[in-house]
């Protein structure tokens, strides 16, 4: 589903080079590694937020290396969530659908469906500034999943959550995966989180991306 070949990203003094990664359709892959290695940069390059200096990114059979983010159709949940502070939970879940021209009835039905999967159906009319950490996390995930993307990128989605909320979110992510079969690349620092959710765990170090066993973080 996602195939990265010899990816090179240069940003100021930071350089990430010769990155190779393959994620199969429907697979959930966790990417671990020390802070500052470039895990977030890889996710941003995949969703089109970073200029690519070399290599290519293939999604399905399509080369998306230089495609604008809007045309890639990738769901992205950044570490800081980046919720839209003036909007309600419902507006978040319908945001991408409105852009795609869905009519109001379809948008509402889809928004409610996604909210039910994520357990935030009672929060639909709340402003996101009033949400708890776990609720905000679910909203960000719902926004990314609402338009039925083929690929979901999660950047340390549970780093700021307590253990109980984290376990609840594990269950939510499993439910979402069962229902959508979405291909997921998930950056995390947490080994148990990676083991609980991922089909495969990889690690990014100075030699590139490798299976977790051969080079622990």
């Amino acid at each position: 589903m996602i195939n990265i070949e010899g990816l090179c990203v240069i940003s100021g003094g930071f350089k990430l080079s010769d990155i190779n990664l393959r994620v199969e359709r429907g697979e959930h892959v966790a990417l671990m590694g020390r802070t500052g290695q470039g895990k977030t940069t890889i996710l941003e390059a995949i969703c089109g937020l970073r200029a690519i200096a070399g290599g290519r990114i293939i999604m399905g059979n399509k080369d998306i290396t230089h495609q604008p983010p809007a045309e890639r159709g990738i769901g992205y949940v950044p570490q800081d969530l980046a919720l839209f502070s003036t909007k309600t939970v419902r507006a978040h879940l319908e945001f991408a659908l409105k852009l795609r021209g869905w009519d109001k009835q379809r948008r509402q039905a889809r928004g409610e469906e996604v909210a039910t999967w994520l357990g935030i159906e009672r929060l639909l009319d709340r402003r996101v500034t009033t949400l708890s950490g776990g609720e905000a996390q679910r909203t960000a995930m719902g926004r990314a999943l609402s338009f039925e993307p083929d690929v979901l990128l999660l950047d340390e989605p549970m780093s700021a959550l307590d253990d109980t909320t984290r376990k609840e979110l594990h269950a939510v992510i499993r439910t979402v995966r069962e229902r959508t079969k979405v291909t997921t690349l998930h950056v995390t620092h947490n080994q148990s989180e990676a083991a609980a959710l991922a089909d495969r765990v990889l690690v990014l170090n100075s030699e590139g991306i490798q299976p977790f066993n051969s080079s622990p973080p």
């Binding site: 969703c47 089109g48 937020l49 604008p68 983010p69 809007a70 890639r72 159709g73 990738i74 769901g75 992205y76 950044p78 800081d80 980046a82 919720l83 839209f84 502070s85 003036t86 909007k87 309600t88 507006a91 945001f95 991408a96 852009l99 795609r100 402003r127 926004r143 990314a144 338009f147």
Partner: protein, 271 residues
């Protein structure tokens, strides 16, 4: 229970901050005490004053709208984009703020009335092609107010955009937005209070503008006279009570408009 240190801290804050509030209040009380109610009433029914008040409201509002139209894009560019000579653009924007207001008026006068191409002057060209009289006209008042007020709007909008993380805009791009859509659907709503503040500042600055208007638009009664120039005209003919009366009218207008704008700014609507 406050400790002695806390009380001293609180007390010094109140004394230092309160002294300025007291000064402003004293100024207003002095003006009110100087001007009789009878005189004020007579002043408000004077045709010239009514004209100046109406022209002030009209020109300040238009100058503030123009300032916002320029302030939003320029503030956004200075906050988010990196380009050659950005520092120069940044410094240029501040020039109307640091220049003496009279110099802004003088510069406008020269710009519009100096031959630019051959013998053609900008003022003449605008009159010939658009029947627009700028120098010593209403448009001149608006342009003089805008020239200074826009700098404040740009600064305010730049700080506003600096405080809004670009991450939300980036996520909007991944959801299907073009850059323009990400701007007006995500960033602009988040900048709403900054826009209201910038508008308020630009409006208030335009209300108090005097020097550039005098030089570039003049202070002709029933033509280009705004309240700030009325104060000058009344003073220049020795009518101190009328000058104070008009000043009080300006205070009243400013308070009403600023309260309305603050009310709008406080409104936070979820979408």
């Amino acid at each position: 229970m406050l400790s002695a240190g806390d009380k001293a801290f609180r007390g010094s804050l109140i004394i230092l901050g309160g002294s300025y509030v007291l000064l402003v209040l004293a100024l207003l009380v002095a003006d009110i005490a100087y001007c009789s109610a009878e005189h004020l009433k007579g002043l408000f029914f004077k045709r010239e004053i009514q004209f100046a008040a109406w022209l002030t409201l009209k020109t300040c509002t238009l100058a503030a709208i123009l300032s916002i139209l320029v302030g939003i894009p320029l503030g956004y560019i200075l906050s988010r984009m990196r380009f050659p000579l950005r520092w120069l653009v940044d410094a240029l924007v501040d020039i109307p703020v640091v220049l003496p207001p009279l110099v802004v008026g003088l510069s406008l006068l020269i710009l519009f009335n100096q031959p630019i191409v051959g013998e053609t002057r900008l003022e003449q060209w605008l009159q010939d092609n658009f029947h627009a009289k700028v120098t010593y006209g209403e448009l001149g008042v608006i342009l003089a107010q805008f020239s200074v007020a826009a700098a404040f709007a740009v600064r305010t909008m730049r700080v506003t955009f600096d405080q809004i993380t670009p991450r939300a805009e980036q996520v909007a791009l991944t959801l299907g937005c073009s850059r323009l859509q990400a701007f007006y659907k995500v960033t602009l709503p988040e900048a709403w209070r900054g826009v209201v503040t910038a508008f308020t500042l630009a409006w208030a600055r335009s209300l108090g503008e005097f020097g550039p208007i005098m030089v570039f638009a003049g202070a002709t009664r029933m033509k280009t006279e705004v309240l700030s120039t009325t104060v000058f005209l009344e003073l220049s003919v020795g009518s101190l009570e009328s000058a104070v009366g008009v000043s009080l009218l300006m205070v009243a207008v400013a308070i009403i408009v600023l309260l309305i704008l603050r009310g709008i700014g406080m409104e936070g609507r979820a979408t």
